[in-house]
């Protein structure tokens, strides 16, 4: 079995689509459907053209961002949630739940419905983690709707979304957990990260071991406009908690790390036998397009610390987790992905993996 390689998810939307959304003022306007479909089909074709054995729909229809796609448009939310500051100086604001009950507006399997009609290789689907959405419940609480009830509803909605994706044939379901590193930054005591891990494990405990082998968790310092929200946090310190997640696959950003060897050593120390770790070998926020050889070298480097049978490659992060992020072009994204695919193959060849 060759070294598996998978994308994280998002691909920059076509500028034509972004312009239409901007002009329309509402990303959910039905008049945009044909543009969404055109963008999705093109993304699928381009990704397949890179040779990637597993692809995504590029999250072309995740209007606004990877974080709030499931609740965007609900009546009982407000846009004045917490602000997430990025290193480049800009912020992203979360949504806030204003009234009971907490329900998803949409489940990610609806994106699969469309993509599966055009994909010719296995499709993976990314979903938002319950820990990310848990920050929607306000500090002051909601009268008549306890935080515990909210947590229960959140877990049930998340479980429903993952099950629907698995049932529809997603090759993998990837839970985006970019807030892991942010939690360590916000709460150096580790309590927040620990509670996030607990919450996500509560969700994962609802699945069978076989299902969990088709589920993965992705974490990164958060890439937006070629900037991060928590790259300054010691990644190696985060990893012990990450490997406590009861999940079969972990997708970890590594290409953009300044001290990859320290991270790799931590991975080697905490990786469990039933887990495969996909290390990032291309950095979306880096304008430089990696060559296959550079990628190969990163894989060979990782292979010194991670058993080949538990090693995979991926992108450090999505190329455009927020819809309006145009800092990276589609061409750059596909070129980086192609480099990942080729470089991983080169590494496999070098390592003698058939």
């Amino acid at each position: 079995m060759p070294i598996p390689t998978e994308p994280i998810g998002s691909i920059p939307r076509p500028l034509k689509l972004l312009a239409a959304i901007d002009a329309c003022g509402d990303g959910m306007d039905p008049t945009l459907d044909s543009l969404y479909e055109e963008a999705t089909r093109d993304t699928l074709e381009q990704l397949e053209a890179t040779g990637s054995p597993v692809i995504t729909d590029g999250e072309q229809r995740k209007y606004h961002n990877f974080w709030t796609y499931s609740v965007h448009g609900l009546k009982n939310i407000s846009p004045d949630g917490f602000k997430i500051p990025f290193a480049a100086g800009h912020t992203r604001r979360m949504l806030r739940l204003t009234a009971e009950p907490f329900r998803y507006k949409r489940y990610a399997d609806q994106y699969l419905d469309f993509a599966l009609r055009y994909a010719h290789v296995p499709l993976k689907q990314a979903v938002i983690s319950p820990s990310a959405l848990s920050l929607m419940y306000p500090a002051e609480g909601i009268a008549g709707y306890s935080r515990e009830q909210f947590i229960e509803d959140l877990l049930r909605e998340h479980e429903t979304e993952v099950r629907r994706c698995l049932q529809k044939g997603a090759y993998k379901v990837q839970i985006d957990f970019t807030e892991g590193r942010l939690a360590a930054k916000v709460d150096p005591s580790g309590m927040l990260l620990s509670s996030f891990i607990d919450l996500n494990n509560l969700a994962l405990s609802r699945f069978s071991a076989a299902d969990r082998q088709r589920i993965g968790v992705h974490t990164c310092p958060g890439g937006d406009w070629d900037s991060t929200h928590s790259a300054d946090i010691d990644y190696a310190g985060l990893l012990p908690s990450l490997f406590e997640l009861n999940v079969g696959n972990l997708y970890l950003a590594l290409a953009g790390e300044t001290d990859r060897l320290t991270v790799l050593r931590a991975i080697r120390r905490y990786l469990r036998p039933d887990q495969r770790v996909f290390v990032g070998v291309v950095a979306p926020i880096d304008p430089h397009i990696e060559t296959p050889e550079e990628v190969r070298d990163r894989v060979l480097e990782a292979a010194q610390y991670i058993p080949i049978g538990q090693l995979g490659t991926t992108d450090d992060c999505g190329f455009s987790p927020f819809c309006d992020d145009t800092s990276t072009t589609r061409e750059t994204a596909f070129a980086k992905i192609r480099a990942r695919v080729l470089g991983t193959a080169l590494a496999a060849e070098t390592l003698g993996v058939p």
């Binding site: 917490f82 306890s146 909210f150 947590i151 229960e152 309590m191 607990d198």
Partner: protein
Amino acid sequence: MGSEEGEEARLRSVISENAKSIQRVRQNAERELIAAKEALERKAQELQRSEELLADFFENAAIGLHWVGPDGIILRANQTELNLLGYSSAEYVGRHIAEFHADQPVIEDILSRLSCGECLQGYEARLRCKDGSIKHVVISSNVLWENGKFIHTRCFTRDITDRKHAEQALREEIASRERAETALREADRRKDEFLATLAHELRNPLAPIRQAARISNAANATEAQKRWSHDVISRQVQHMALLLDDLLDVSRITRGTLELRLQSTELAAVIDAAVETARPLLDAKRHSFTLQMPPEPVHFAADPLRLAQVLSNLLTNAAKYTDPEGQIRLRAACAAGEITIAVSDTGIGIPPEELPKVFTMFAQVSSSRDHAEGGLGIGLALAKGIITLHGGEIEARSAGRDRGSEFIVRLPLRAMRSHSPAQTTDERSVNPVKRRILIADDNRDAALSLAALLRMDGHEVTVVHDGHEALQAFSQVQPEVALLDIGMPELDGYQVARHVRQDPLGQAVTLVAVTGWGQDSDKARAFAAGFNHHLTKPIEPEQLSTLLSAESLC
């Protein structure tokens, strides 16, 4: 900056509260998990208990149970089935079920039907036990299918061996009864046939007797006609007497009362006598008769008259059942302490199915000639009885219808202890003594004809026809001998005898019971009533003469 700090403080607050809530949710989830685990454990225990009960039911069911896989291999069997057949589990489970079936087509049919989804009910089969015996069983079976896949059969085996044996015994009993009923019907048919034949044989002589009597009584009958009539009557009476003698002999043999008068007998003399008897018929049908005798004279212990009677019967049969100008042969031989006499012919033969029955009473080979040849069909039964009394045996052989017959008599070659020939009554001298005799019989002809015979011998005879007259005659005649019929109306012979014996004058009279009843019980009853002698009808004149000539009658 202050706003950002406030934002971060609020975020920490949310994070803190969320952590507490997540902890509580997790605790709730853990409690639910524990409860679920406990419920699962309870379910597992219940399931285990249920499995134990089912296993107990399987093992100890009162009926044999087993599972067979799609390849015919026994997967499981309960103790009841193992006990039924005598195998251990290791000897039974893991083997092909066909190994235990006595009838291969049966198990092949069972497996074929089950594989087709059929549910078997009450299918009878025979299973082979470890000790080699066979058990009859009834099998009810179907297949456990999962997603169209044959998992195993569910087979119930019930032992019906006792029932089968009982049914077999019942069938045999019914068959035995049917054979007995058939034999009874056959015997009944033969009896009817015999009675019809007997009536025919007895009636045949009547016509010539009646006609001869009329001729003899005719006023214009010549002396020659009267002598001829006398000869006819005598011949026919003799024929009738022979028939009756045969009947009586058969009766005696049946009752075991026939006694042989054994004496040292010369074989040639017996055969000569038999040939002499059969000679008229042999000659009448122009048969070629061949006689083969042993080179030396053979003496042995036998009743010569009875033996001659047997051989003449065989020769007469051979002559009767062989077409004219046939070949009749008698061969006598003596070897290894045994005399063998074989009478063979070229006649109608005996079908194989009739051979075993020829020596039974009233048996005659079915043939349109049977009645034409006459006879009661008791001759061979009589022959067998006589030969058996001699300690010998008689055998019939025939290659089939129209292939001739052969009757072989084997007799033990035994010598008499005393060579002096037995003295028969016929040889005793008879002293002519005149007696005063009373005859009482309601059969007037019998009484009068007997009186006539006795008067011809010089006796003084008084005849009466009932018991009362007999008692009157006693006091008037004072007879020396009274011949009393037993079956007289009003006052029978027993009553007359008792009255006579009660009279002082009746003590000296010799009372002779004359009756057709000749059983031992009849004789005992007669003696008890006071009779001195018991004679069975028809009375042999010579026997009566001997009795009357005795100097001391009582």
